[in-house]
């Protein structure tokens, strides 16, 4: 558990992107090869490899090469959906405080 605490940033980066969240959702249903993912998300193999690498670094995805095909599946982190949710929530919280700051600036002097 301890080794997980230091790398929230990696998880956060990994799930901050809509495509990568989509990949996680997709792999949650069934494993897929890189080329299948590339086709489904309409991007190049190189682009998809980068996304998968980021997810793999975060422990959210693992890959296995069988013959010439690299298959992607959900990683050893079992709480993928929860981790994604926590990261999104954190992002929302920070954005809310930014928004509150702007609101307070905007309404300065409006109230007694």
């Amino acid at each position: 558990m301890v080794q997980y605490s230091s790398d929230l940033d990696t998880v956060f980066t990994a799930v901050a992107d809509g495509t990568r969240r989509g990949i996680l959702e997709r792999l949650g249903r069934r494993e897929a090869s890189i080329s299948e993912l590339a086709e489904q998300f309409e991007m190049t193999l190189t682009g998809m490899k980068k996304h998968v690498q980021l997810l793999e670094d975060a422990g959210l995805v693992r890959t296995q090469k069988i013959g010439r095909v690299r298959t992607c599946m959900l990683g050893t982190r079992r709480l993928t959906a929860e981790a994604a949710w926590i990261a999104r929530y954190h992002q929302m919280l920070e954005a809310q405080l930014d928004s509150l700051g702007e609101f307070l600036e905007r309404t300065k002097g409006d109230q007694p």
């Binding site: 959906a81 929860e82 809310q96 509150l100 700051g101 307070l104 109230q111």
Partner: protein, 167 residues
């Protein structure tokens, strides 16, 4: 930081966030504590910032202990997200504790605490602390609530929180 395995079965889940599922955010605003308090507790004001630019419909907001709240956010690309929970503590000008649940992750309850500090120079410090619970933990809490009433359920939550603070 130690791991969460010290006590109780409910704390044994593998977690992927720092300090096992606690998030802390902090800001200092150039605004009086009263203005910040109102921004958090008056629905008409909350609607102007909580959605971060998205349209926010405040369906319910009973700012008192035990009161319900429910917000629905509408994004420009047509997505709708509902958030809701219950106020657990409301100490005017000082502290709000409430539960938070997103419709998209039912059962994953977050306990949110917002604390305001008057810095004495017209500025206010806001500290937000959020504690995540898994559905298993929440169900455990609900179960204890059914057996012994809400007071005991709150006590159990207090103990859990105290244990986490100690670490």
């Amino acid at each position: 930081m130690t791991t969460a395995t010290r006590t109780g079965t409910t704390m044994r889940h593998t977690l992927t966030t720092p300090t096992d599922r606690t998030i802390r955010v902090e800001r200092i605003f150039d605004a009086t504590r009263d203005r910040v308090w109102r921004a958090y507790t008056e629905p008409a004001l909350v609607a102007q910032w909580w959605g971060r630019g998205n349209t926010l419909v405040i369906e319910k907001m009973e700012v008192q202990r035990g009161g319900h709240w429910r917000y629905v956010e509408h994004t420009p690309d047509g997505e709708t997200h509902g958030f809701e929970g219950r106020y657990r503590e409301v100490t005017p000008q000082d502290r709000i504790v409430r539960t938070f649940e997103w419709d998209g992750m039912p059962g994953h309850t977050i306990l949110e605490t917002v604390e305001l500090t008057d810095l004495g120079d017209g500025r206010t410090r806001v500290v937000g602390t959020s504690l995540f619970f898994t559905p298993e933990e929440r169900d455990g809490m609900l179960h204890s609530g059914m057996e012994g009433g809400m007071a005991q359920s709150y006590e159990a939550l207090d103990r859990l929180l105290a244990e986490r603070r100690d670490r």
